[in-house]
Amino acid sequence: MATTTYLAASTRALAEEMERDPSVWALGEDLGRGGVFGQYKGLQARFGAARIADTPISEACIMGAAVGAAMAGTRPVVEMRFSDFALCATDELVNQAAKARFMFGGQATVPLVARQPIGMWRSSAAQHSQSLEAWYAHVPGLVVVAPATPADNLGLLKSAIRADDPVVYLEHKDLWAAEGDVPDGEHLVPLGVADVARAGRDVTIVTWSAMRRTSLAATETLAGEGVEAEVIDLRTLWPWDRDAVLASVERTGRLLVVHEAVTVAGFGAEIAAFVAEHLHHRLRAPVRRLGAPRIPIAYAPPLENAARVTPDAIAAAARAMLAPAAARAS
C-alpha cells in the first residue's frame, strides 16, 4: 500500500499496461509535455514519441485514427483533454467506434479507451465543465467508466485498456489531486462492479465520480443524526451493477441517486427508473434524484455553485426521504 493521487494512479496504470503490452499506445494533444493536467508526465521519455504521440488539434482525427488503429490490431488510449472537446469527435466515437464491431458482423473489435476528463473544476464555464456520461451509456457498443478514487483509477484504467470494447473513460478534473491508498502490486478492478463506499441500512445513495466524495461527506452529517446511509459508487455506468443496487435498495427501501450532471435525462434517470420498475413494492419512499438544474455552467463562482450538488443538499434529500411523510404523500 502506498498513498498516491488520482492523477499519479492513472499515469501508473498506463505505464504498467504499456510495459505489459507493446500494442498499447496513447495519442492526444501535448502528451509529450505530460498532457494538460500532467497525467502523462514522464511517459514520452520512457516509451518514446511513437507510443506517446503528440497529435495536432484534430479531435475528430484523434478519435477516428484510434478507431482505425484499434481495428488494425493496436490498443490506443485516446486523450480528449476535456470531455467537452470530445464533442468534436462524436461521429467517430458513436457512429464508428461503437458500431464497427456489430456492423461488420464481428470481424473487428475496437479496443480503444477514450479518456475524457469531465466535470466542474473552478470557473471553467460552459465549454469546459460538462459531464455527459448519460449520452454514452445510451449508445450500444460503448462501455462507460467513471472512477472516483486513486485505487479505482489505477485498476479501472488498466481493465479498460485490456477490454476489447471501446471504453469511454471519464476522469473527473476535480479529483486529479485527490489522494488515497493504492495496492503496490498488480491491481485490476473489474468493469461493471460497484463499490460499496459506505454501508448503511436507512437509505441507498447511488453515485459515481466526484460525487462519491460529496455523498460521503453528507453521510457524516446524517450519521450524526442517526441516519445510516449506504453509498454505492457505481464506478462503471455501462454496464452498471444492477445487482448491487437492487440488493441494497431491497434492504434500505430508499434510493437516492446523486450525480453532478444535469438531472434531466441524466444517468440517474436510468437508475431511478430501473429501481422503480423492479422494486416498486419494496420502496419505503419514492425514488429520488439529485443533479444539476438544466442550466449551462457559469463562470462566476456563485453562479457556478448554483449547478453544484452539495453535501447539504444530499443530506437534506436523504432526510426528507426518511421523514414519516415521505412514506405517505408524494
Binding site: 500494442s23 499506445w25 511513437a50 507510443r51 504521440a53 497529435t55 495536432p56 484534430s58 475528430a60 482525427c61 478519435m63 477516428g64 485514427a65 484510434a66 478507431v67 482505425g68 488503429a69 484499434a70 481495428m71 488494425a72 490490431g73 493496436t74 490506443p76 461521429d91 467517430e92 457512429n95 464508428q96 464497427a100 464491431r101 456489430f102 456492423m103 461488420f104 458482423g105 464481428g106 470481424q107 473487428a108 450500444p140 457498443g141 460503448l142 462501455v143 477490454a163 476489447d164 470494447d165 471501446p166 471504453v167 468493469l191 461493471g192 455501462w238 454496464p239
Partner: protein, 339 residues
C-alpha cells in the same frame, strides 16, 4: 465535364496484356455484380439503399489489383467495386446486400457497411469522409509495428469538403504514414454538382497545400490508372509518406439505385458513356492482340458468375435472430442479460 488538362497521357501500346486482361476481368465482375444487385433491388430482395459504381470500375481495379492481399483499404458508401477488387468473395458480398446468413458481415451491415477483413477490406462507411481518419489510424498502427503494409483510402469528390479530409491528410503527412488517398471525383455529390460546393481546384490542390504529392488522372483510362497506381503504391510502400490520386470519373447511374438522376444533362451523361472504362480497356486489349473470344468470355463469365451469386443469395436463409444481440460488446453484452 471534359477530361482534365493534366490527366495522364495515354500509355504506350506495348501493353502487359495478361495483367490488363485481369483488370478487365475485375471490372466486368464489378459491373456484373452491381447489375445483379440492381436486379435484386428491383425484385425487392435488396432492401436497403445501394450506390452503384457503374462507370467507375477502373479506379477500384487499378488501385486494388496493385495492392497486396495484406494491404488494407477503407471504402465509402459506393464500395462494392473496391471490395470485390480487393478480393472479397462475391457470394458473401451479395448475401450481405440481401441481408442474409453468410454475408460478409452476417447481414448486419448491408451495402453501406460491407467489409471483409480477411482480404484487408476494413469497411465501407455510411458517413461521408469518416473513413479517412480510420484509414489514417490503420496506417498508424502499421507504422507502429513496422509492417510492410500500406493503406488505400477511397473517397468521393464531395468528401473533400468535410473536416476529416483535412485532419486525416494533415495527420498522414506529419506522421509520414503509408496511405494512398484516392479521390474518386465523379463530379457529383448526391444530386448536387460538386463544383458548385467546392472552392479551389479540389482534392489534388488541397493535398499539395499539405505537402502531399498528388496527381490528377483520367479515371476512365484503366491503363493509365494502373501505371499511376502502381507507381504511387510503390512510393508509399517505400516509406515516402502519403500520396493522393485525384481521379476524374463518372457514375453512370443515379446517386442511389432509386435516383433517376434527372438533374444531369443528357449530353454530359452521353459524353461519359462514350468513355466507358470497360469498353475502352477492351478495345485497347483487342488492338493489342488479345483474342476477342477471351475478351468476350471476360464479360460473359462475369455475368454468369454474378447471376449465380444472386441466386445463391436469394436462396440463403436469414441470419439467426441471436445475431441481433451478438458482437455488440464484451463488457455489458446485451445478449448476456436482458435489460
Amino acid at each position: 465535364m471534359s477530361p482534365a488538362s493534366d490527366e495522364a497521357r495515354p500509355p504506350a501500346r506495348n501493353l502487359d496484356r495478361e495483367r490488363l486482361t485481369a483488370h478487365l476481368d475485375t471490372m466486368w465482375r464489378i459491373r456484373a455484380f452491381e447489375e445483379a444487385a440492381l436486379r435484386g433491388l428491383s425484385e425487392g430482395l435488396v432492401r436497403g439503399a445501394i450506390h452503384p459504381s457503374i462507370g467507375q470500375e477502373a479506379v477500384a481495379a487499378a488501385v486494388c489489383l496493385n495492392l497486396a492481399r495484406s494491404d488494407l483499404i477503407l471504402s465509402t458508401h459506393r464500395g462494392h467495386g473496391h471490395t470485390l477488387a480487393k478480393g472479397a468473395d462475391a457470394r458473401a458480398m451479395m448475401r450481405e446486400l440481401l441481408g442474409r446468413a453468410g454475408g460478409t458481415c452476417g447481414g448486419k451491415g448491408g451495402s453501406m457497411h460491407i467489409a471483409d477483413f480477411s482480404v484487408g477490406m476494413l469497411g465501407a462507411n455510411g458517413v461521408v469522409g469518416a473513413n479517412i481518419p480510420i484509414a489514417v489510424g490503420a496506417a498508424h498502427a502499421v507504422a507502429l509495428r513496422g509492417g510492410p503494409e500500406i493503406v488505400a483510402c477511397f473517397f468521393g469528390d464531395g468528401a473533400i469538403n468535410r473536416g476529416p479530409f483535412l485532419e486525416g491528410l494533415n495527420w498522414a503527412k506529419i506522421f509520414r504514414l503509408p496511405v494512398l488517398f484516392v479521390c474518386e471525383d465523379n463530379a457529383w455529390s448526391a444530386t448536387t454538382r460538386t463544383a458548385d460546393l467546392t472552392a479551389g481546384e479540389g482534392a489534388a490542390a488541397r493535398a499539395r497545400s499539405l505537402g502531399i504529392p498528388a496527381q490528377i488522372l483520367d479515371g476512365n483510362d484503366a491503363i493509365g490508372l494502373d501505371a499511376a497506381a502502381r507507381d504511387a503504391i510503390a512510393a508509399v510502400r517505400a516509406g515516402e509518406g502519403p500520396r493522393l490520386l485525384h481521379v476524374r470519373t463518372y457514375r453512370m447511374t443515379g446517386h442511389t439505385a432509386a435516383d433517376a438522376a434527372g438533374y444531369r444533362d443528357a449530353a454530359e451523361v452521353e459524353a461519359w458513356r462514350a468513355r466507358d472504362p470497360i469498353a475502352r480497356l477492351a478495345a485497347a486489349l483487342a488492338e493489342a492482340g488479345v483474342d476477342p473470344a477471351r475478351l468476350e468470355a471476360s464479360r460473359t463469365e462475369a455475368a454468369a458468375e454474378m447471376a449465380d451469386v444472386l441466386d445463391d443469395a436469394r436462396a440463403a436463409p436469414w441470419p439467426d435472430l441471436a445475431a441481433a444481440f451478438a458482437d455488440v460488446q464484451d463488457v455489458g453484452d446485451p445478449a448476456e442479460r436482458a435489460y
